[in-house]
Symmetry: C2
Subunit: 598 residues, 2 copies
C-alpha cells in the first residue's frame, strides 16, 4: 500500500502556468495571501495530507463506517481524531469566505489544497466538502439569525453539514420529491420524510450535524417549483448556540457500497416522532435554486476528486513500476532498467494516466482561477463567471470519466497484484467509481452543458473560448519551437472540429432534442479533451519559456511538462476526434430501437 | 439483484450467422450433434445456468471461499452441491474430446455453453475451465499410464485441475521461476517451491486436485528453456485409481481479491515436508510448450469471459432501465416510456454495451468455429489454425478490455443504486477487472499478436483476412440495401487503415522494437474493433437476407441485429480510427521520458 505525497511541484506549476496564481493573488485583495504564503500553505497541507489523512485511507476502506441500533454511526478508527486535528489546524474553514468566518483563501489555492485531501483520503474529504457546500447555501440564502447560529460552528468544522436531496423515488429527478414541511406557527417547520444516499449523514466526528433538506410546503405547487430548503440540525441549538435537544431524525441504516467505505452513506428518516424541527432557508418554493448554490461548487470539487484519485492511482502505479522486477523491456540492454517501467506498454499506461490527470488538473485549476476572477470586481468578472458556468459541467464530467480509465490502468500496471486488495490499487478504482454518479451523473452534466450553457447563448461563450484556443494553436504552429509547433498543429483541427460539433448540437437543441441528447456525453468528452489538451499546451509553452529564459531551470521537470502535453496531443486528442464522429453520426443508431427490442 | 437468462436467440443467431454452426456440425463427423441436438443442448445449458449457477453468483461474492488453519478451503455455500450437479448432468466433460473421455462437442457449441456458465457464475466456471485446460495439457503431453490414471476423473470432474505457473518473483516473466523438481529414481520427482495466484488451488468441491506445476530439474538450463511441467496430485492415486495418501503440498493462504470471491485464489506451498511427489508431463525442459497448450485454450475462454460478464451486466442494466421511473426522457410525451430507458443517454449506454458484447461474441464464436475447422481434416484446416493463432490474442485482449467499459456502463445505468453492492452491478465490474490480467495481460496478448503472429509471416494471414473484409465491405457498400451499404462504407476506410497499421507495425518490428511495442495495445484494440464490426456486419447481412426471404421472420429481432451492427459502426469504429492514430503517432511521447522523470 503506497503512501500519498502531494505532487507539490506539478501542482505549483499548474497553479502558476495554467491558473495564473500570481495574478489571482494580486487581485485577491487580501494581503495575507502572497506567493510565499501560498507556497507555505501548500507545504503544510502536503504534510497534513501525507502524514495524517493518507495513513487512514486504507483503514477507512477496510473497516468502513459502522452503524448500530438506534442509528449510531461510528467512523473508522482514527477519523474522529483526524477531523479534530484538521479543524484545529484551521484547514476546515480555509476555503470558506471571510464573511462567513472562513479564511477566505483564493479558490485557486483552496482547490490545490482540496485536491490533496481528496488524494490522501477521499472518504474523509467528503465531510468537509459537504459542510462547506451547506455553509455556502446557508450564507447566501438564510436569514441573519440562522446564519449567526449555524455558520460559525460549521465553518470551523465543529458541526458538519449534509445535502438531503435524494429520496427512493427521486434521484436525478427532484420533481418527484415527497418529503413534507409543515409550519409550526413559531417560524419553524416540522419535516417528515425519508432521504437516501446522504453522505456523512450520521457520524461521530463532530458534535452536531446540520441537514439541508429539500421538502414540500403544504401549499407547494407540483414539480421542482414546489420544493423548499430547510436547515434541520441533529441537535437543536440552545440559545447560547450549543447543541441541545435531539431532533426527531434518525439514521435508519448506512449503505454497503463499492467504495468510499470510510464515508458513511446514510438513509435518513425525518419525523418518525411527529416531525423534525427545521428552519426555512431562502424563500418558499425556491429550494432548488438554493440547493444549486451548493451543488455547483460541489460539482467542481467532484471533478477535482477525479483528478485526485487519478493522481493517487498514478503514484501507486509509478512506485510499483519502478520497483517490480519482471523481465527486461524489449530493446533494453544490461545497463537499462530491469524493472517493469522499462516495458513500453507500462510506460504507455503511466503516460496516459499522467496526461489525463494533468489535463484534468489544468481544467479544474483554470476554472477555479476564473471563479476567483468572477468573485472580484474587475472588468472581466462577468465573462469569468460565464466561463465558470460553461466549464463546471465539463470539469465534473470529464475529470470523473477520466478517473475511471486512470484507476483501471492503475490496477493494470500492478498486474495480478493489482487485483489483490492489500495492494491498494483496487481501492482507487472502487472509490473513483462514484464520481461519475453523485452530484449529477455524467449525462446530467452533459445535458447541463448543452441545455443550460451552450444553447442559452447560442454557443457564444464557448465560441469565444474556442476562438482563443484556435488563435493560440495557430501561433504555436507557426512558431519555431518544434514541440510547440506540433502541439499547435494537433490542436488546430481538433478545436475546429469542436466548434463544428458545438454548432451542430446548438442547432439540434429544440428541433432535434432527442438526437442532441443522444450525443451530449460524447460531446462533453470531446469538449473536455480539447480544452484540457489546450491548457496542457499552454503549460508546455510556459515550460519552454522558462527553459529559454533561465539556464538554471530544472530542465528535466520542464521538459516533462512538454512531453506530457505532447502525449495528451497524440493519445487523447484522437479520442476527441472519435467522440466528434459519434456526435455527428451516432444518434440515429442510439435511438433506433423500441423499448421491446432491448 | 437480477438473474441471468441466457440470450438464447442472440446466441443461436451468432452461432449460425457468424459461426456457421450448420457447417461446423456437418463437418464435425459425430452424428450425435445435429442442429436439433445443438438447440436442445443450449436449452438445457440455459436452464442449468439460470436455475443452478446464477443464484449462487451473489452468495459466492458475499461469502467468498474460506480458508482455515491447516490449509483447508471451503467453497461458498452451495458451490460443492452445484459442482456435483454439474458433473452429474454431464456438463463437466462436454467440451473435452472423446479420446480423453469427454463428449467431444464441437468447440463452437461448447463455447456458447461456456459463455452461459461464465455469465451465470464466473467464479464457479473457472474451476471447470482450469480442469479442462489441464486435461488438454496432460492428454497431449503425458505418457499413456499417467493419462489413464488422471484423465478419466478429471474429465468427469470428480478431480479438478490447476495451473501452477506464477511465483512471487515470476509473473509474466516465467524465466524467473525457481521451483525445483528432483528425480526420486523411481520415475517420479520431488517438487519444492511456492506458487501464487493459483485459481481453485484448494477447495472442497471435488475429491482430488491435480496441480500442473512448472519447476526446474537439477540440470536445467537457465531461463524459460529450463522449465519442466509436472503433475502433482493433492492425494496420490492408489493402484485402483482412487485418491490415496496426502501429498506434501498445502494451501498456505487465499487472497482477498477485488472480485471473483467465489473462486479461491491460493498460495500453494509444495514440499515443506521434503518434496511433493509428481510426474513429469512431456519432455524435460519443455514445460513451457506444454503449458501453452492449456494457456492458448484458456486465453480464448478468458476472452469469452469478457463477453459473458458484459452480457450479464447488460441484462441487469436493461432490466433496471425498463423498471426505474425517473423523469421522462427529453422529447417524450405522455404515451411514451416513463422509465429511464426513455432517456437518450441511457439508450446510448445500453446500445454501446450491446454492440461491444455482440462484437466480442462474434469474435469468440468466429474463432471457435475456426478451431473446429482446424481440428478437422478438411483442406482449410491449416488456414483455419493460422486464423485461430492470429485471433486468439485479439479475442482475449479485446473482449476483456471491452468488458471494462461495459461493466462500468452497467454501474452507470443504475445511477446511485449501481454503487450499492446489493444491486449487483458493481460485482460485474469487480469480477471483470481480472480478465485483462490473468492468462496474460493485454500487453502480453498485444505483443503476442505482433511478435509471434503478425511479424512471423510478415502479416500474410492478417492481410488475407483484411482483404476478405475489404472485399465484403465493398460489396455491401455497392449494394442497394441502405443499412448494409452504410456498414460497408464505414468498414472500407477502417479496414484500409488497419492494413496500414499492420504493415507499419511489422516494419517497425525489429529495427524499431520499442516504438512497435509502445503501440501494440492500441493496435490490438484497433484490430479487434475492425474485425468485430465486420463480423457484426456479416450478421446484419444475414439478418437482411432472412428478412428478404421469409415474410414470417421475426422482423423486430432481425432489425435489432442490423441496428446493433450500425451502432458498432458509428460508435466503435471511430475508436479504431483513434487507436490507429495512436499507433502511427503515439510511440515517441510514450518513450520520451527517463525513468527519473516519472
Amino acid at each position: 500500500m503506497s503512501d500519498y505525497q502531494a505532487p507539490r511541484r506539478e501542482m505549483l506549476f499548474a497553479l502558476r502556468a495554467i491558473g495564473g496564481l500570481e495574478a489571482v493573488l494580486a487581485a485577491h485583495g487580501d494581503d495575507a495571501y502572497d506567493m510565499e504564503t501560498a507556497e507555505a500553505v501548500l507545504d503544510e497541507a502536503a504534510r497534513f495530507a501525507g502524514e495524517v489523512l493518507s495513513p487512514l485511507n486504507r483503514i477507512g476502506d477496510r473497516q468502513g463506517a459502522r452503524w448500530s441500533d438506534g442509528g449510531v454511526v461510528r467512523a473508522a478508527d482514527g477519523f474522529a481524531q483526524a477531523h479534530a486535528a484538521f479543524r484545529e489546524a484551521g484547514w476546515h474553514g480555509m476555503p470558506a469566505r471571510t464573511e462567513f468566518g472562513g479564511q477566505g483563501a483564493p479558490v485557486l489555492l483552496s482547490t490545490a489544497v482540496l485536491e490533496m485531501w481528496k488524494s490522501a483520503n477521499m472518504a474523509f474529504s467528503l465531510c468537509q466538502m459537504l459542510t462547506l457546500g451547506a455553509v455556502e447555501a446557508i450564507a447566501r440564502h438564510a436569514d441573519a439569525a440562522l446564519c449567526a447560529t449555524l455558520l460559525p460552528p460549521m465553518v470551523e468544522g465543529r458541526w458538519t453539514g449534509t445535502m438531503n436531496l435524494t429520496e427512493p423515488q427521486a434521484g436525478s429527478d427532484l420533481a418527484a420529491i415527497r418529503s413534507r414541511a409543515v409550519p409550526t406557527g413559531d417560524g419553524r417547520y416540522r419535516i417528515t420524510g425519508t432521504k437516501i444516499f446522504i453522505t456523512w449523514g450520521e457520524h461521530d466526528v463532530a458534535e452536531n450535524i446540520v441537514h439541508l433538506v429539500l421538502a414540500r410546503l403544504p401549499d407547494a405547487p407540483p414539480g421542482v417549483k414546489g420544493i423548499s430548503l430547510f436547515a434541520v440540525p441533529k441537535f437543536l441549538p440552545r440559545d447560547d448556540g450549543s447543541p441541545g435537544e435531539r431532533n426527531d431524525l434518525v439514521c435508519a441504516s448506512i449503505e454497503h457500497k463499492l467504495g468510499i467505505h470510510g464515508s458513511p452513506t446514510a438513509v435518513m428518516s425525518f419525523g418518525e416522532g411527529g416531525g423534525a424541527l427545521g428552519w426555512l432557508v431562502g424563500q418558499p418554493h425556491q429550494g432548488l435554486a438554493c440547493m444549486f448554490t451548493m451543488m455547483n461548487h460541489a460539482r467542481l470539487n467532484v471533478g477535482l476528486e477525479g483528478v485526485a484519485i487519478g493522481e493517487r492511482a498514478y503514484q501507486a502505479a509509478r512506485e510499483y513500476a519502478l520497483m517490480r522486477v519482471q523481465g527486461r523491456g524489449i530493446g533494453l540492454g544490461e545497463g537499462d532498467s530491469a524493472t517493469i517501467i522499462g516495458h513500453p506498454d507500462v510506460r504507455r499506461m503511466l503516460m496516459d494516466m499522467r496526461a489525463r490527470n494533468e489535463a484534468g488538473r489544468a481544467l479544474a485549476y483554470y476554472t477555479a482561477a476564473r471563479m476567483d476572477e468572477a468573485h472580484g470586481h474587475g472588468a472581466g468578472a462577468a465573462a469569468a463567471q460565464a466561463l465558470v458556468d460553461l466549464l463546471t459541467p465539463v470539469v465534473k464530467g470529464w475529470c470523473t470519466e477520466s478517473a475511471q480509465r486512470v484507476t483501471a490502468d492503475g490496477v493494470q500496471v500492478h498486474g495480478g497484484m493489482g487485483y489483490i486488495e492489500e495492494t491498494g490499487a483496487a481501492q482507487h478504482l472502487r472509490d473513483a467509481r462514484i464520481t461519475t454518479i453523485y452530484e449529477g451523473t455524467t449525462a446530467i452534466q452533459a445535458n447541463d452543458l448543452l441545455n443550460r450553457k451552450l444553447a442559452r447563448d447560442g454557443g457564444a461563450v464557448a465560441t469565444a473560448l474556442l476562438q482563443r484556443i484556435a488563435a493560440e494553436a495557430e501561433t504555436w504552429a507557426a512558431g519555431h519551437v518544434p514541440a510547440l509547433a506540433a502541439l499547435g498543429r494537433a490542436l488546430s483541427p481538433a478545436v475546429a472540429e469542436l466548434a463544428a460539433t458545438c454548432a451542430l448540437q446548438v442547432a439540434r437543441h429544440g428541433p432535434q432534442a432527442r438526437e442532441a441528447a443522444a450525443a451530449t456525453v460524447p460531446h462533453l468528452m470531446q469538449f473536455g479533451t480539447v480544452v484540457g489538451c489546450w491548457l496542457l499546451a499552454r503549460g508546455a509553452a510556459a515550460a519552454q519559456a522558462q527553459l529559454d529564459a533561465d539556464a538554471a531551470a530544472d530542465a528535466g521537470f520542464l521538459q516533462t511538462r512538454i512531453a506530457v502535453a505532447r502525449h495528451a496531443a497524440t493519445h487523447l486528442l484522437p479520442e476527441a476526434a472519435a467522440a466528434a464522429a459519434v456526435v455527428r453520426e451516432g444518434s440515429a443508431s442510439t435511438l433506433a430501437l423500441d423499448d421491446a427490442q432491448f
